[in-house]
Symmetry: C2
Amino acid sequence: MSLLVLGSIALDTVKTPIEERTDLLGGSASYAAIAASFFSPVNLVGIVGDDFSKENIEFFKSRDIDLGGLQVVPGKTFRWSGEYMWDMNQRETRSVELNVFENFTPDLPESYRSARMVLLGNIAPALQHHVLDQLIRPHFVIADTMDLWINIAKEELLSLIARVDMLILNDGEARELTGETSLIKAGRKIREMGPSAVAIKKGEHGCLLFGDGQFFSCPAYPLEDIHDPTGAGDCFAGGLAGYLSSRHISDADLAEKKEIPFEFLRQAVVEGSVIASFNVESFSMDRLREVTKADIAERYEIFRTLSRFEAI
Amino acid sequence: MSLLVLGSIALDTVKTPIEERTDLLGGSASYAAIAASFFSPVNLVGIVGDDFSKENIEFFKSRDIDLGGLQVVPGKTFRWSGEYMWDMNQRETRSVELNVFENFTPDLPESYRSARMVLLGNIAPALQHHVLDQLIRPHFVIADTMDLWINIAKEELLSLIARVDMLILNDGEARELTGETSLIKAGRKIREMGPSAVAIKKGEHGCLLFGDGQFFSCPAYPLEDIHDPTGAGDCFAGGLAGYLSSRHISDADLAEKKEIPFEFLRQAVVEGSVIASFNVESFSMDRLREVTKADIAERYEIFRTLSRFEAI
């Protein structure tokens, strides 16, 4: 089955301590869809202006990403500009131009409405609700979010969280959302808000996954140099969702308890981490253009050795 | 063989947001020795005043800790007082009284000088040098340190680092010592300073272990409540060193290359993490008084499941 991916499609300007690049393909849906495409066909829901290049369209198409849900309208594509500080850990948003995104209320193509596996990429919760409302019988809905929505759209975010099966957010956001300083308490508290699974991203420290009485600590890949962290979180979500979509989970299993075996979720978190670790090695999605399935399998095995130790 | 443990022995006053306790058994050598004693006999090197209780002495003795290197002198035992902030992550030292510690220059008992496995617990680098100078042919020397020594005794610390086989420090200290923001770069840089193994502790994010071309990311135990973080780092170092001491590594192996197999180091880091995770559940060493070998084995296995995931 195809994975439905909703989110922003953007043209980014990114400044690092070393270099500045403009008109980069970006946005949460772009990163997530490309990441997911290593594992699963994707149905993309988004909007771009008439300044969006034919090359970008072709890039999506070349990755088995269906564009039936992509609106191309007169006007300018959503633009984001950000700057990374010297240690690449801190980022400052320099400007945001919503442009064609401002009035985006997508009507899903008929064939998209029966999606079973869904990634509501990082975007306004109202838009995530709007797409979720159009789905007939989704089996597993993953939502990604960010601090902005906790700050300006908390009520809508909370009602969205109650409707999804898995929430992805980072450590600072998990603390902000729950008022808990312990990430363990925060993860468990978010599960009580609705999602059966919660992934808390910790940047250079890896990721924590919470399930029903189960817990997984995913290590971070020991990268020495990060060229552009933009989209790492979106790639993580996309890789994770794409992997889950690729697993042949019988409808009966899902209909029964709407849960995915925790072992699949563990593997999905690692696959997402692998894709994200590649992505930060270059600007935009440049690194993912050349990565192969074999590269991914190899790094997955490196992840296994990173945290492996023998019983005593 | 016995593990030689050097460090401070203190009476602590600890204030948490919930409770304040005085005259607690503390100090880097106390925590490390008790932690190590789960795995190995210990030879303790330290100093206390005549206010140090018989109960504390008996506690050490009950744990197979040899006190031939413990000086009991007239005067007051070293005292430390600290306060933890509401989230238990930040600590403020309220007072330090060196007392009998001020003029501590230990003369090791003859039988201690042939120690093979050595833990130079967190203490002034000059004192760590002084003890190391008296050892005849140590096989594996582990040093623990803290930011204070980077700030006030950097030269002595650097020359100590060049003499030891393994260095243990936390993430902030690794960054400060190397000027690298990436912990991966920091860990590799410290290895170039001398030690064949480096462990970087990351608190709630676990620990990174660096060896010769090898790397291990140890998860943190998902504790929801921490009652007293004091001594967690010392217990980690002590548990790690005690475990290594307990492994029967043939002298020939060690003489050959002075290295311990990386697999043993991985296990040692986990054992250290297990002991530390128990210790923070109560004030002082109270939790370790009741923990059994079976409890440790059980939690070791939980650590294994925390980060386990299947090949694809």
